[in-house]
Amino acid sequence: MITQTLSIGRRLTLLLGAIAALLAFLSWGMVSSFSGQAAARTQDNVLAASVATIAETLRSEQGTVRLELPYSAFAMLGAISEDRVFYRVSVAGETLTGYDDLRGGRIPEAPGEVLFDTLEYRGETVRMASISRVVLAGREGASVTVSVAQTRNGIAAVTAGLSRTAAVLSVAFFVLAAALSAIAARASLRPLNEIAQSVSRRGPSDLRPIRRPAPSELAPLMTALNRLMDRLGQSIRRSEDFITEAAHRVRTPLATVRAQAEIALHTVTGEEEKRSLRRVIRAVDESSRSAGQLLDHATVAFRAEDLDRSPLDLSDLTRAVVESLSPTAEMKDISFAVTTAPAAIRGDAILLQTALRNILDNAIKYSPPETTVSIQVTRAKAEVQVEICDQGTGLGAGPVAHLTERFKRGDNVEGVVGSGLGLTIAEEVMRAHNGSLTLRNMTKGGTGTCVLLVLPSA
C-alpha cells in the first residue's frame, strides 16, 4: 500500500490560493496607502491655495500691514470636507489676527515657499500650511507669515472609505483567484489522471508500451514505465521460454523411457514385473502430460500476447479435437455425444484447440469408465457457447472459482494424477478471446461437472 501524501491538486490549489491571498493583501495595502497619500496631497494643495490666497491680499497701508481675509480662502477649505479650520497671521512673530495659540509650525525662509506641518492643536491632529511674505510697512519690510490649519477627519474618512472599497475588491479578487487556481490545478493534472486511468484499465497481462501523447513533464515517467513493462515482459517471456525448453527436454527422454518400458512389458513374463512396468508407463504418461500442459501454458501466454483473430467455426474445431481424443477415450470405454451448430468466431485456432483439448482431457480423466461426455456447441445472439459435461464425481463441495487458478485442484481428486494446469490454460485462452469459462456441478440427472465456454461470435 502506498502512503498517500497531500495530493498534487490540493497542493497546487493551496499554493496558488496562498499566492493570491498574498497578492490581494499587498494590493489592498498599496491601494490604501496610495489613496491615503492622494487624499493627504489634496488637502495640502487646498491648504496651500488657501494660504497663498490670503498672502496675496496682504498690503501695507500707512505704514502698517493690512489684511482682508478673502472669503474664498476659507470657503475652499469647507468645500472638500467638514473639517475644523484655524489660522494665524503674524508679523515678525506678533499675531496680527487669527488664533494666537496656533504655533509650532516651521516658518518658511524663502518667500512664496509653502511648508506643511502636522501638529496637535486643541486636542486634534491638524495639518498646517504656512507661507511667508515680506510686506513693506513704512521703510522696512516686515516678514508676514500666514498659517492655515485644518483637522484631518475628512481625509481620514476618504482614506477609510477607499480602503474599505479596496478591501472588498481584494477579497473578491482573492475568491476569484482561488477558484481559478482550483480549476487550473485540475486542468493541469488531467493528463496525469488520464494516463493513470489508461494504465489501470489495462488487462492483467497487457504489457504493451503505453503509446499516448504526454506532457513533457510526464514523458520521463512514461518512458520509465514503458521500460519497466518491457523488462517485465522480457522476463516473463524468458521464463516461458525456459519452461518450453524444459518441457521439450523432459518429453523426449520420457518418450524414450516409455518406449523402452513398453518393450520390456512385452518381454517380461513375471506378473510382478508386468505390474511395476505398467506403473512406470502410467507415471511416464502423467509426466509427459504435465510437460505437455506446461508447454501449452507457455504457448498460450506467448500467443495471447499478439492474438491471431482469423475467422473460424468453433463447431469444426470442437469436432476435430473430439476426433483426436477419441482413442484415449476408447481406452476407458468413454463415448462422446457431440451436438454442434454453425458457430462463426474470430480467434486463434491453435489456442482454442489447446483449451478444448485440456477440458476434454480433464473430462476423460475424471470420468468413470463406460460413461458419456456430452459436448454441445450452441449459438445465442452475439455469443457462441460450448458446454462440456461429464458423469464423474463433480467438483466436490468446495468453492469452484479458484479451480481455474494455476496448480489448484479440486478437493475430491485423490487417486487421480493431475497438474492443475488444464483449467488455467483454458481460462487464459478464453480471456484472451474476450470470452469466459464457468465451472458448475451438474444439478440434474446424477453427478458430473459442466464447463461452459462463452465466446463472442464473429
Binding site: E68, F74, V85, G98
Partner: protein, 341 residues
Amino acid sequence: MRLACLAFGLGLLAQIGLAQEIEVEAHRFYEGTSDSVVRVISTADLDVFEPFLLEFQRTRPAIGIDYTVTSSTELHRAMTQDHTFDLAISSAMDLQFKLANDGFAQSYRSSATDSLPAWASWRNLIFAFTSEPAVVVISRDDFVRQPKPVTRQDLIALLRENPARFQGRVGTYDVRVSGLGYLFATQEARASDAYWRLTEVMGRLDPQLYCCSAQMIDDVASGKLALAYNVLGSYAAQRIAEDDRLEILVLEDFSNVMLRTAIIPQSAQNVEYAGALLDDLLRAGMRDTPSAWVLPPLSDRRDPLPAAFGPIRLGPGLMVNLDQLNRRAFLDAWESGMEQR
C-alpha cells in the same frame, strides 16, 4: 404657580446677573414634574419659542425648561466664558459656527440628526432647524400711492428720490450690536454691490438703528418707520398675521436666507434632555405639514421668496467675517456709510 415661577426666574436672573454678567433680555422657567431641568440659551424671543417649549413639555412633562433670551453676541460670550447651558440656539450662524469650530460644542448624533440634509449640519456639532429669509417690511400707509420697489435698485431710487418722506423713517439693524444684522450685512455685501449704495442712501436719511427685529416691526406698525430693511421674515410674518398695517416686501434680485442653528455646548450638564429637545427641534424643522409655529421649516416649498443662492452655507467661510481685521474694516465702511451727517 405663576408667581412661584416668576420668583424662581427672578432669583435665577439675579444669580446670572451677579455671577456671570450676561445681558439677559428675558427669562422664563417652565417647571417640570421632576427635578431635571434643561437650560436653554437662545436668541429667539419667548413668544416665538413658547409654543414649541409647551409642546415639548406636553410629551415630556417631567423635564423642566429654563429658557434664557439674550443677544447673539452675548450668547457667544456666554459660551466662551464657562457659563453652563445645555442647549444654545442662535440666529447668528457665523458666531454659532465659530463656537463649533473652536471646540465649544459637543458632538451629538441621533436618528433626527442623521436625517437632516447635509447642508443643515456640520460635523454633528451644529444643526440647523429653520431657514428664515431677510425681508423688507413696509408700512402700508406710506405706499398707498406709490409703486412698491421690486429690486434693490428700485429701493435705492425710491429712497434717493423721496428724501423728505423717508427722513428719519428708515430702520435697519445696528450691525455693531446685532450678530444677525452683521451676518445679513456681510453676506449681502458679498453678494451684491447694491448693498453699499443702499447703505449710503440710507445713511443720508438719518436711519434708525435697532438691535432686534421685533422693535423694528413695532416701529413700522406704529408708523414711526416707513420701511425696515433686513428684518427677520419669520417675525414679520407672525406680526402681519395680526396687523394689517404692515406688509412684507419681496425683493426679487435676491434674498439672504439664514439658518437658525443649535449646538449642545461643551459645558452642557444635561446632555440627554438637551438631545431630546434638539431632536424635537430638528423634527419640527423637517416637518412637511403646515403648523401653527411661526418659525418656518428648513425647506418651505410654499416660500415665495427667491433664494437663488440658497441658504447661507454652514462652513468655514463664515469665519472670515468674524476675523477681527475683517470686522473692523467692514464696520469702518458701514459706519462711514450709515453715519454721514
